[in-house]
């Protein structure tokens, strides 16, 4: 098995690595690049905890071969805040108490980021629809939806 050269844009910076063809994107992020904000839940593409943005669209990084992002742009939860300033969506999650155990939070925030990028003022059903690929077992979703609504009103 030959290692492959992978170059891609991660949170605004170019990254080059020699990687195994067996590596999945979530393991590249967590184990090789040490970015633990992206979570591993089911490893099956069901729970959405591993969601990252590839070219602005949410995808499950646990079932995505890392080589697929060659030449693409990837945003993880670590890429949202600027310096010490949180992204307005992160701020809204704190203010609305939308975080309990926190395991789904990075994925929720990133999918909300993708939604608000395309549609700055979504209605509740559009919010529910776009968050439907991330499972939360604590909150019952209510406060998460409220947080996204808050972030969209502040826009």
């Amino acid at each position: 098995m030959k290692d492959l050269n992978l170059t891609f844009n991660l949170n605004g910076r170019e990254v080059s690595k020699k990687i195994s063809p067996n590596l999945l994107l979530v393991d590249l992020l967590r184990d090789v690049l040490n970015l633990k904000g992206t979570k591993v839940g089911c490893r099956e593409g069901e729970c959405g905890a591993c969601t990252v943005l590839v070219n602005g669209e949410p995808v499950n990084s646990c079932i995505l071969p890392a080589m697929k992002v060659a030449g693409q742009s990837v945003i993880t939860i670590e890429g949202l805040s600027k310096e010490d300033e949180l992204d307005p969506i992160q701020q809204a999650f704190i203010e609305e108490g939308a975080v309990q155990c926190g395991f789904c939070t990075p994925a929720m925030v990133l999918t909300a980021k993708a939604l608000l990028g395309k549609n700055p003022h979504p209605d509740e059903s559009q919010i529910r629809q776009s968050l439907s690929g991330v499972l939360c077992r604590c909150t019952g979703y209510r406060k998460i939806i409220k947080a996204v609504q808050k972030a969209s009103l502040d826009k």
Binding site: N22, G45, T51, P58, S130, S132, G133, V134
Partner: protein, 310 residues
């Protein structure tokens, strides 16, 4: 920690020798040929990667075709609609052309998996996986879709009705062929469609029953000229209830025709009991409901609503 992972999650990564990303179709076919069946084409990979991780599938190499140019188009060609082999579910459900000319396909593409899955999973891949519950296969069957298949020997086109052979098995030879295009006639003025899906939840749920119905009506005579009804997963493959369709041909637009079709499709479907999808008895009973409801909605969309109470 690694040990726990192995027990709980089968294995962390996949185990292949090579990951290839061809830039042209001939190059992709050549790579496939080189591996003599030991390589597999992937696009989104959302079905294949979990299979590889569980060890339910073993291959030497993956050939990722998402870099091939001119494969992710959705376009009208005369009265046909054509989808390139790399078109994703997200593209289909947001396409104005599909929403207008084949709304049932847009609906089906919009409920498969999750937004994350729909962003990468392709419609062609959904067909090739050959699962009896494949969401887009049901409306595509009802729309009389055809698929174009490319091999080193040339290109062939076949009706989707001949494509599904058994659970997980299709007419596509994965060791040397690539599905390049899906094509179907756009719905006409006197046609209407409906898509119905029964599942445990509204999102991220496998379907218990899916039906797609396309009717062609004769508005003068108030008859059903033609009906195409596809069902899944109530048999090893997604399928058309051909006997029921034959009985519906030239029948009046009436409650009686719907009842007759429901009984006929009930007899034609053969679901298994499943922990995930419910008992055989329940699913067969739901076939009747879906046939009646699907026909009634499709007829209304064609401008021939059944006026009696259904």
């Amino acid at each position: 920690m690694e040990g726990i992972f192995r027990d709980l999650h089968w294995g962390k990564g996949i185990s292949i020798q090579q990951y290839l990303q061809p830039l042209t179709l001939p190059e992709a076919l050549e790579m496939l040929a080189e591996y003599h069946g030991e390589a597999l084409i992937i696009a989104g990979g959302t079905d294949v990667i979990p299979l590889l991780r569980r060890g339910d599938l073993r291959v030497e190499a993956l050939i990722d075709i998402t870099r091939l140019p001119h494969m992710n188009y959705i376009e009208a060609d005369g009265e046909s609609v054509c989808l390139g082999g790399l078109v994703t579910h997200a593209q289909v459900c947001s396409s104005a052309l599909i929403q207008e000319r084949a709304g049932i396909l847009a609906e089906a593409a919009g409920v498969l998996g999750s937004p994350q899955i729909r962003n990468v999973a392709t419609v062609a891949g959904n067909l090739i996986s050959g699962q009896p519950a494949a969401d887009t296969s049901i409306p595509l069957l009802a729309l009389n879709a055809k698929v174009k298949i490319l091999s080193p020997a040339g290109e062939r086109e076949m009706p989707l009705t001949q494509f599904f052979l058994d659970q997980g098995r299709t007419a596509l030879d994965c060791s040397r062929e690539i599905l390049t295009q899906i094509r179907f006639p756009a719905l006409q003025k006197n046609q209407g469609g409906s898509f119905l899906r029964l599942s445990m939840r509204k999102a991220l749920a496998l379907p218990i029953l899916v039906s797609a119905t396309v009717v062609t009506i004769d508005p003068e005579k108030k008859t059903i000229k033609e009906a195409a009804i596809a069902l899944g997963p109530v048999a090893p493959t997604p399928f058309r209830v051909l006997k029921t369709e034959a009985r519906l041909r030239n029948s009046p637009i009436s409650k009686g025709s719907l009842e007759m079709a429901a009984e006929s499709a009930f007899a034609e479907s053969n679901p298994r009991s499943s922990l995930l999808r419910g008992s055989m008895e329940y699913r067969k009973a739901m076939v009747k409901v879906f046939i009646r409801r699907g026909l009634s909605r499709a007829l209304a969309n064609a401008g021939g609503a059944v006026t009696e109470e259904v």
